[in-house]
């Protein structure tokens, strides 16, 4: 089977596992495409492809979210590819959470080559506004998505009682089914 490992879907699934946000939640930011393109351009297609192949392997070998997490720690951070893939995976999380791209570590840049726009920066105003960190902490990005007068007077939500159980996975499975 000659599947190309460069689809936005693969990227979003991996992102979902890395960030703890469901595929739907990530799509709901409207940034799946642009984050995909951003990362691919910054690290280069071949390295990016390597990351997604690795993800595909983890996905195929893991039955549960727990197994996928273990797989990520082992295959992306702990394997012989760790120093190549680990920093990218971390940057993907930073990108989704903060809307910032962080310059790749020095050693990485030396060893694998640096793109011209591999600079620490806010990727876009939208990426900032849609940063996942605010949702994770049940707050709102400064100067955007304001919650309305007096909303702060109420106790913060505690979504994790409910949310923890259902974060992501199901859509991933649905898609897997379709593609096999």
């Amino acid at each position: 089977m000659s599947k190309r490992y460069d689809s936005v879907d693969d990227f979003v699934e991996l992102s979902s596992e890395l960030t703890g946000f469901s595929v739907a939640e990530l799509e709901g930011t409207g940034l799946a495409e642009s984050h995909f393109t951003e990362v691919r351009e910054l690290v280069g297609e071949r390295i990016f492809g390597r990351l997604l192949i690795t993800w595909d392997k983890i996905r195929n070998e893991s039955k549960s979210s727990k197994a996928r997490q273990t797989g990520i720690h082992k295959e992306i951070f702990g394997s012989e590819w760790g120093d190549l893939l680990g920093p990218i995976a971390l940057n993907i999380v930073r990108l989704w959470y903060l809307g910032n791209w962080f310059q790749m570590p020095r050693e990485w840049r030396h060893k694998y080559g640096a793109a011209a726009n591999d600079q620490t920066r806010v990727v876009s105003a939208e990426a900032y506004r849609e940063g996942l960190v605010w949702d994770a902490i049940c707050a709102y990005p400064t100067a955007a998505k304001q919650p309305g007068f007096g909303s702060w007077a109420f106790p913060p939500e505690d979504p994790y009682e409910k949310k923890a159980a259902t974060s992501r996975t199901t859509k991933t499975r649905a898609r897997k089914k379709k593609s096999t």
Partner: protein
Amino acid sequence: MINYEKGIEATPEEVAEKVSKDYYDVIIVGAGFAGSILAKELGKGAKKVLILEAGRSTSIRPEGYDSYVTRFQEALAKTPNSPYPENPNAPQSSVLFQRQIQAGQAVDNGYQVYLGPQPFMSTFTRLTAGTSLHWLGTSMRMVPSDFEMSKRFGRGVNWPISYTDLQPYYQDAEYEIGVSADVEEQLRDIQNPEDKGNYFEKGYEYPMHQIPKTHLDKWLGKKLEGKSFEMEGKKYPMQVVGTPQSRNGMPNPKYADSPYNKRKKRGHYVPRGGVHDPRMGQRCEGNTACVPICPVMAKYNGLKSLYSADPEKVDLLTQAVVTNIEIDPKTQQVSGLDYTVYDSETSAAPGNYQKFVARTRKGGAYIVAAHAIETAKLLLQSGTPATGNNEKCGGVANSSDMVGRNLMDHPYLLTWGLVPRGTRLGVLRGPLVSSEVPMRDGAFRDAHAAFRGDVRNGGWDFAAGAPYSNVLGLLAPGDGKNPVLGSKLRRQLYEDVQRQLSFGFEIEQLPDPANRVMIREEYRDKLGAYRPVIRYDMGEYSIRGMQAAKRLSDSILKEVGGVDHTVYQESDTGYVFHYEDGKKVGYTFHGSGHIVGTHRMGTNRGDSVVNSDQQTWDHENLYLVGCGNFPTIGTSNPSLTAAALAFKCADHLIKKVL
């Protein structure tokens, strides 16, 4: 309503034409907090007013204001001036250029030059509406003892006016800039019963109810109920008091019947929303971005006064940098203001800069309201600039040699800690500050600075860069090999951030003539104007205040079962130290943006720059208005008091002079 299409903005040609016809009664330098209010009030008093503003007018258009918001969102370093583009023709200060100062080595890579021993940590904005675009919005009155520091505590100096003199103007200011607060809560920290009794006019109410306290404020208030804190042998209650705020809340129906409002013959108070769309911002919406920009304009800024000024009476000329105040040698009166209008930031083409002189009609008045640092600088560089041999008493209005001196700020001391696991404080929601723990007044002030502890709704945002630092920390713990990922990351962030408690203490500072704004030949900006050169030292009185503030923070954390995580390091930019029981103890301060004192008011021309009418002792038709007039700083954020002084000056000019 006035708007940018009909406009109070004028062209250089229109202004030159009117000047040639002796049209203006008053010329104001600076369209900031004080200048906007002065212009509006003088216009109401049927005076013809010209404002010369050095900065751009971007914000008077809706897309312009929105572009600031986007610029902030796109900024990597979200500093107070990050929404506002650099402008080499009217440069402004930035926290990004603050450094520790090695003995004898000036730090001069930004606009301001820092001579030390400490860097001056506060910044301001040079734009239409000025620093009111990025102020926090905190608007408490000063307390009566602040006006009598020398008399009551043997510290600093007295004001030439008392609290009672300023009280009516506080009411005007609270109406104009729209303050939400609770009268009873504002009395809680005033110690002297007589002061308390006279603090508000009988029956006074704020225009709007107090902004709802955050969940955090309420939580802390409950925990501290009945607890006290000892200073200099006397106990003071630890109490969480709502902060008066110039941001829109629920109008207080009782305001209509307050004696003040009745005298003014005004009906119910209606919150003033955004200037470009009045329906926007009629209530604070919780952007948690008061500094550096409120996206919905629920917080007051000078545009609101400018937009409600009479367009027939008020002209605003932007991109007009005043470089010199001309004094007629015979009469010692101001005869005109030299200013340069720039067209583009980058062009070197001839015609980019045009020079003009602005004059009032005979008998008119000139007001410099350009912010404490720029006003002092303009005075120092006018006439025979106060550099070299002329440093002493050079410039304009400086016979006392007090121009630029007694520079003060509220050194801002952050403390931070974690409350017990499982607590959800609800941080990073609501206005940045909605409550405080005040220690503003009391006998201890003969020994050390008074202070107020902001209960920071932003958690460790200022203290440690939360929530960014939390994300980065969990992703790269220790060796970076074992990041916290996935749903664990998501949940851990929530748990960690929800426990972040942080205070920001505004510490009082005493006037010290050695703390000052100067000019030096070698430091000039693109227009050839001088750059402010600042010498600044903290002083033991304030450091002892920091010591007490830190002790208060520790006591609070103890009461709530929290753990202190505050760290002050010698390498911090604002690090200062003193000795406590023979042991060296250091604190790190930041700026509050409360820049005051550089052209102080007084009863005596020998040690002050202006009299109680805010008129310079040296030049009859020259007035200075703004925070620079404060003889002492107290613990209040100075904007409301500056606004009250603007009302007082307008009143004086209309009734007595023009």
